[in-house]
Symmetry: C2
Subunit: 112 residues, 2 copies
């Protein structure tokens, strides 16, 4: 397994979770938000077009799965797959790092 092939995989992975909003969506699903409206409400600035697109991309990449619950009315939920679940250590490490190193933007600082 050459260095180059490990790097290629790493770069693909980073672009997958680094795409604007994708990481935030994964983070929210990890936190138990599974419905479209919940996800939209939890991420300020994320519009419907981008939310739908990112959900499709994450599903196509195999990180999440779309479940249609046989209720009335029908309910749709987004859940992590095994592949998605195994990103937890990456996201957890990033939360620790971000909490230590990333200052809150002023407008957010008062609200925190």
């Amino acid at each position: 397994m050459s260095l180059h092939s490990v790097c290629t995989r790493f770069h693909i992975a980073l672009e997958l979770i680094g795409a604007r909003w994708s990481g935030a969506l994964l983070h929210m699903i990890f936190k138990g938000k599974h419905r479209y409206a919940e996800l939209k409400a939890a991420i300020p600035g994320l519009n419907d077009t981008m939310l739908a697109r990112r959900l499709r991309e994450l599903e196509a990449a195999g990180l999440i799965e779309r479940r249609v619950l046989d209720t009335s009315p029908v309910r749709v939920e987004y859940h992590l797959t095994e592949m998605g679940e195994e990103l937890r250590p990456v996201l957890d490490e990033l939360v620790v790092w971000a909490h230590k190193w990333i200052p809150l933007p002023e407008d957010k600082a008062e609200a925190s």
Copy 2:
């Protein structure tokens, strides 16, 4: 510390390392490549304009520092700061995950 402020920091951090090529650059600097030409050669597809821009952004964000060595001719090197170094666990976890879950693109598969 509200959930929202932790998420805000996390989202900023993810966009910082998730920006196209930034993660790859950090990864290469972690691997001991410190010179402009080395970085350019190590990341296929990365052009001069984008390389210069990402290096400036990573420097402005405090993840790397630009060192001018008093040699003849003068040498310029890019090194991780303490803030950058502490991303190592994040990148290491991502390499493990990528190695398990991300298939190599066909054109790269033969070369690996």
